[in-house]
């Protein structure tokens, strides 16, 4: 669904943001795009959707070259920005004006999501708080039923009950034809929602794998005494005990901990990459 080959991009000539970046994202999944501040998550999303143009390499989004910005591609992408400005419309009017652009827009879904978020559609957009506006856009974005849904920090600004509502809505919104990309810092909000993880580092991607694959190769657990030391990729002592990410040589089923994985990727990048690349080939 999304293919990136050998991508190079920089805002300024001297400072290269991406170099030789390769990535593939498939449909039917909720992809979590993670990375440190300034790693270029938003930039990558903008490249995928055709808002920025690569300096080198190529991108294919839904079979299109995104920088051509063809309307038939754009009507199959919805991009929820972290920052946005909305026109001075009521929600009703917003729907009237914008839904027509998206051929698969579903009014019932939109109404259902709004009521899940406890927002009335006769309210004025500009009288809503940032979080509420965001919820309107989330509801609208999912209801467009575009094949690609991109969300940049969707849970930012949402209050605690809204985060749960968001997860419920998202869980019901994906199907095998849809591809959702969520970029986020707040991994705890989306822990069980994401089923494919992409970790972005300076210039390239450390890891981009479905969760089943990650838990097949890696094990997340409390360390016992008889653990083989060199299988451990990252460990951390906290109230829960001595937690570690280790190679899954015993084939254990464990629960992926995104934060631990993230830290493992940065403290032991080489091993992680070897582990996943090696097993891809064999």
């Amino acid at each position: 669904m999304i293919e990136i080959n050998n991508l190079a991009f920089s805002y300024k000539k001297k400072k290269q943001l991406f170099n030789h970046l390769n990535m593939q994202l498939s449909e039917g999944r909720i992809h979590g795009l993670l990375g440190k501040n300034g790693a270029g998550k938003t930039t990558l999303l903008k490249l995928i959707s055709g808002l920025l143009f690569p300096n080198d390499g190529n991108i294919k989004t839904l079979g299109y070259v995104p920088s051509k910005r063809k309307p038939s591609m754009l009507q199959d992408i919805y991009f929820l920005f972290e920052e946005f400005t909305l026109p001075d419309f009521s929600i009703q009017k917003f729907k009237e004006v914008y839904s027509g652009f998206y051929p698969n827009f579903n009014e019932n879904q939109f109404a259902e999501y709004l009521s899940e978020f406890e927002i009335h559609d006769n309210e004025k957009l500009n009288s809503l708080s940032y979080g509420q506006k965001k919820k309107v856009l989330i509801a609208f974005g999912i209801a467009t039923n575009t094949r690609l849904l991109i969300m940049d920090e969707p849970t930012n600004g949402l209050d605690i009950p809204s985060k749960s509502q968001f997860r419920k809505i998202m869980a019901g919104a994906v199907d095998e034809n849809k591809c959702v990309i969520i970029s986020t810092h707040q991994v705890r909000d989306l822990d069980n929602l994401i089923d494919s993880i992409t970790i972005l580092n300076q210039q390239d991607i450390i890891l981009s794998e479905p969760i089943e694959k990650i838990t097949e190769k890696l094990c997340f657990k409390v360390l016992s005494h008889n653990e083989i030391e060199d299988k451990i990729l990252f460990s951390e002592n906290n109230l829960r005990g001595n937690w570690a990410v280790a190679e899954n040589y015993k084939n254990e089923d464990s629960k992926l901990d995104i934060e631990m994985l993230f830290n493992a990727c940065f403290s032991n990048k080489k091993r992680i990459q070897e582990l996943f690349n090696h097993n891809n080939i064999s």
């Binding site: 808002l51 920025l52 063809k70 309307p71 591609m73 920005f81 946005f84 026109p87 004006v97």
Partner: protein, 247 residues
Amino acid sequence: MNEVFNLKRFGLLFKEQTSKNLKLFLMGTVLVFAVLFVFSLLSILSNYTNWQAFNNRIELYKIIIFPTSCLVSGIWFTHLSKSTQGSGNLMLPVSAFERILIAFIINIIVINLMNLLIVLSIEVIFFQKIYILRFAKYFFIDYRFYNLLFLLQSLFLIGSLVFKKVSILKTGVTIFILLIIFQLINVLSINIVFRDIPNLNYNDVFFNQNSNLVTPKYYDFLMRCISYIGFPLIWVASYFKLKEKQG
């Protein structure tokens, strides 16, 4: 699907653009009309005859209409420039051609038809007997009026595509600087080329208004051509700029 022009998409974009900017458009229209109305009323009541002269009225129309229309166009086009708003806007499934066409229709055609309508109605209300046709003609035939206005409005379009933030102000300043440079060239050319002719105003050269000046016949034609080509060129350039605009 036609990726360049599709009537349904065009209609949707037209609706989107007009609903977003309806207030702005109405405010501009009301402002122009109100100022001209009040001024005309006062000049009639106080018997201020200067205002009755054709040439003076044209100047006043310019003074009111030019900045207002430029401002309306400028604000209208900001959705193409603001980085947060602009990115979202660029994701709308419409082609660059459709965007440019809408901008052209509304900002050049609709706004100026409205301007003409206001001018004519002021003429009908206050100066029934005089020169209605001449005003209409002046408005749309004389390139020093409409073409200059179109040119300025178009500059605001390209300004919004070039500048990411506060595009109106930056465009305004740029136009101002360009005018100064232009006038400097004028003054210089007067001092160098037409040194022998006395009492030459620098405007006279560009607009070819001085009878003392013997310019070749093609001069007027040349100036016309330049001003005719100017604003379509800006729109073509804007089209390509928009296609390549990054969010």
